[in-house]
């Protein structure tokens, strides 16, 4: 921190002032003048100019400080990730680890009984985003494929349940695997045309794909009931028992807890498997991985398919939770929020996605006053994250294989 002092030298202050002036000019029309061409009014908001001035002065100083720190740290791998620290702590002290685990279990079980229905509902939403994040993390974080149409698979799951219910009266539990399966198939269908595309084209094409699915849902009234959507979708039952609203809320919460555990279990096993390694190799270098004998086609298809699986599954839960769906729930912004969870939490890291979903979904709920700034802040955070901490909050650590020379090769 001591070298922050040098930013108060005359030269640096001058720099900051120039930048401040620039931002005052830059933001002048949009920040200061508010027009309403319907009522023909113009409001001048000079106060905003002062806010911009003070804000940009502080931020520009901070920006240069952070930039310098970043360039000083470049090359040095001094940052130990949060995940690594926790892991080491757990290894040193197995009892602490067990204790912490037990506390988490108790907390998770007690949560819906200790809090209100409203809180339970929010937490359920957060858990849904954990699974969505973990699914997209396979594609973006591990596979390195920027996918901007993920919400389409989510929609497939939701509409699968809704339509199966409307037409055939099929229930939640049967729809759950069908929704996940259909999303997986759609994932494969999408993967095939985009196989040859480079990263940036892939982003646009997946975005287009997501939009196409949404536009079809909006316009094909005979199939999807159009923009008005489908209502009265039943909540999940347990062996044929129908719950009252409050019980159902708690029940869905526990379904989500189970699904999160299930997802983490599967994803953990996959990411350190033969297949999981190919995903990461593809992210690191497509040409090199092909030259090392990896079938890139197959690898792309598996990341898309397995990523889509989770979205389809959660789509079914979403339909059951809200009992009403329409295309407005599956816009591009939905895809981008899930992307934010992955990126901000930490690409490639399961723990990171959990943290990311917690921050991005729960914080705005509790900081209602800020909720209108949510997307603005997400956007800013995405940029700052990429510039200053591209690994996310929780930088991923790779599995350490222990090679026991005596018995040779005991993988952890």
């Amino acid at each position: 921190m001591s070298n922050l002092v040098k930013y108060f030298s005359l030269k640096e202050i001058k720099k900051s002032l120039v930048i401040t002036l620039w931002f005052m000019v830059l933001t002048f029309p949009i920040m200061v003048i508010k027009v309403n061409t319907i009522e023909n009014t113009v409001i001048w908001r000079w106060g905003y100019l002062a806010i911009i001035a003070i804000g940009s002065f502080i931020l520009s100083t901070l920006w240069r400080y952070m930039m310098e720190r970043k360039s000083l740290q470049a090359g040095k791998e001094s940052k130990i990730s949060l995940q690594q620290k926790l892991r080491e702590m757990g290894e040193k002290n197995p009892r602490l680890k067990r204790g912490a685990l037990a506390a988490v279990v108790v907390l998770v079980v007690a949560y819906p009984f200790a809090t209100s229905m409203y809180q339970t509902g929010i937490m359920t939403t957060a858990l849904m985003y954990v699974v969505l994040g973990l699914g997209l993390n396979i594609v973006v974080g591990l596979g390195g494929l920027l996918h901007l149409g993920y919400a389409a698979f989510y929609a497939v799951g939701a509409y699968t349940y809704a339509l199966l219910h409307v037409h055939f009266g099929i229930g939640f539990w049967v729809s759950l695997p069908i929704g996940a399966g259909l999303a997986t198939i759609l994932g494969i269908l999408l993967a095939i045309p985009v196989l040859r595309l480079r990263g940036d084209y892939l982003a646009i094409v997946t975005l287009g794909f997501g939009e196409i699915v949404r536009i079809i849902l909006e316009n094909w009234n005979d199939f999807s009931y159009g923009p008005s959507g489908i209502a009265n979708i039943p909540r999940p039952t347990l062996f044929g028992i129908h719950f009252k609203l409050q019980q159902a809320t708690i029940f869905i919460y526990f379904i989500m807890v189970a699904l999160v555990v299930f997802t983490i279990f599967i994803v953990r096993r996959l990411e350190n498997s033969r297949m999981g390694r190919t995903w990461i190799a593809m992210r690191e270098d497509e040409i090199a991985s092909q030259s090392m004998g990896i079938d890139i086609t197959k690898t792309k298809v598996t990341t898309f398919a397995i990523g889509a699986f989770w979205a389809g599954m959660i789509g079914v839960v979403f339909a059951a939770k809200t009992t009403f769906i329409n295309p407005a729930s599956f816009t591009l912004w939905e895809s981008i929020i899930i992307l934010c969870i992955v990126v901000i939490g930490g690409m490639g890291s399961i723990f990171g996605v959990v943290v990311g979903a917690g921050i991005l979904i729960l914080l705005p709920e509790y900081l209602r006053a800020f909720s209108q700034y949510r997307m603005l802040l997400f956007g800013a955070i995405l940029v700052l994250m990429m510039v200053f901490r591209p690994g996310g909050i929780v930088t991923n650590v790779r599995k350490v294989y222990r090679i026991d020379k005596e018995k040779t090769g005991e993988a952890e």
């Binding site: 390694r277 270098d285 030259s291």
Partner: protein
């Protein structure tokens, strides 16, 4: 005996530029052969054509892993070529930077393994055994190449010379019958180059792998290779033993034109 790798009139055009021009090349089992020539002569492009990274615009490539039955491999995908037993390194190092050294080698083993998605999820006995074996095998390769102390480091954190060696380790993990090394000594100091020299000979002897080598370091080329092919402007201008090549006037002319590379 047929050559284990043979090209006939291999040609590669980029738009108007002919980077590889009707090259006839062959290497026999157990040989160490060097491919030399000034920068931009088309050596890397030659590698890329053989390994399926580029699809050659003309000519044929044959391999004969067992030394008897030859098979045409033009236009096969790189991963298939690797499965057939050709493995390569890259001139501009292309490691998986954010994977550990051990994992880099494990990726090399990938095409010799069979575990699928269900095996991974259920952790079947076969999968666990295979995983254990791949760790052991990869570690063994690291021992051979002398990289065990870095096993759990990220590849990007390795010193330059070690990165070059890891490229070789990763290629060897694919169980090739022919190893193609693209400027393995580039950027190495004399000590490292000497070690590399020994390593190449060791690989041939112990692993029964033939080696095709692109290299600018003439002392390395002359000391390890039995045969040298020289290309210039995409054309093969000479072939022969190191002694023959040293005396060849065409070669001397090509190199005098571009002395810095010699």
């Amino acid at each position: 005996m047929v050559p284990i790798l043979e090209t006939k009139n291999l040609t590669m055009d980029f738009g108007g530029l002919r980077a590889v021009d009707n090259i006839n090349f062959h290497i026999n089992e157990g040989e160490i052969v060097a491919l030399i020539g000034p920068n931009g002569a088309g050596k890397t492009t030659f590698f890329n054509c053989i390994t399926g990274v580029y699809k050659p615009t003309g000519g044929d490539i044959f391999i004969a892993p067992d030394g008897t039955h030859s098979e045409r491999i033009n236009g096969l995908k790189p991963n298939i070529v690797t499965e057939k037993g050709l493995a390569r390194t890259f001139q501009n190092i292309r490691l998986f930077q954010n994977m550990t050294v051990l994992e880099n080698v494990m990726i090399g083993r990938h095409c010799r393994l069979s575990a699928g998605i269900l095996g991974a999820i259920l952790r079947t006995k076969a999968t666990l055994a295979e995983e254990k074996k791949v760790v052991d095998d990869s570690y063994e390769i690291l021992e051979e190449i002398g990289l065990t102390k870095f096993a759990n480091e990220f590849a990007k954190n390795l010193p330059y010379g070690a990165q070059r060696r890891l490229e070789i380790a990763r290629a060897m993990a694919t169980d090739p019958f022919l190893l193609l090394l693209d400027e393995p000594a580039a950027g190495m100091n004399p000590q490292e180059t000497k070690e590399l020299d020994e390593m190449i000979l060791h690989i041939r002897k112990n692993k029964k792998i033939s080696i095709l080598l692109i290299e600018h370091d003439m002392s390395l080329v002359m000391s390890v290779s039995e045969k040298i092919f020289v290309v210039d402007y995409g054309k093969l201008i000479a072939e022969g033993t190191p002694d023959e090549i040293k005396k060849n006037p065409e070669v001397i002319k090509a190199y005098l034109g571009d002395e810095t590379d010699a």
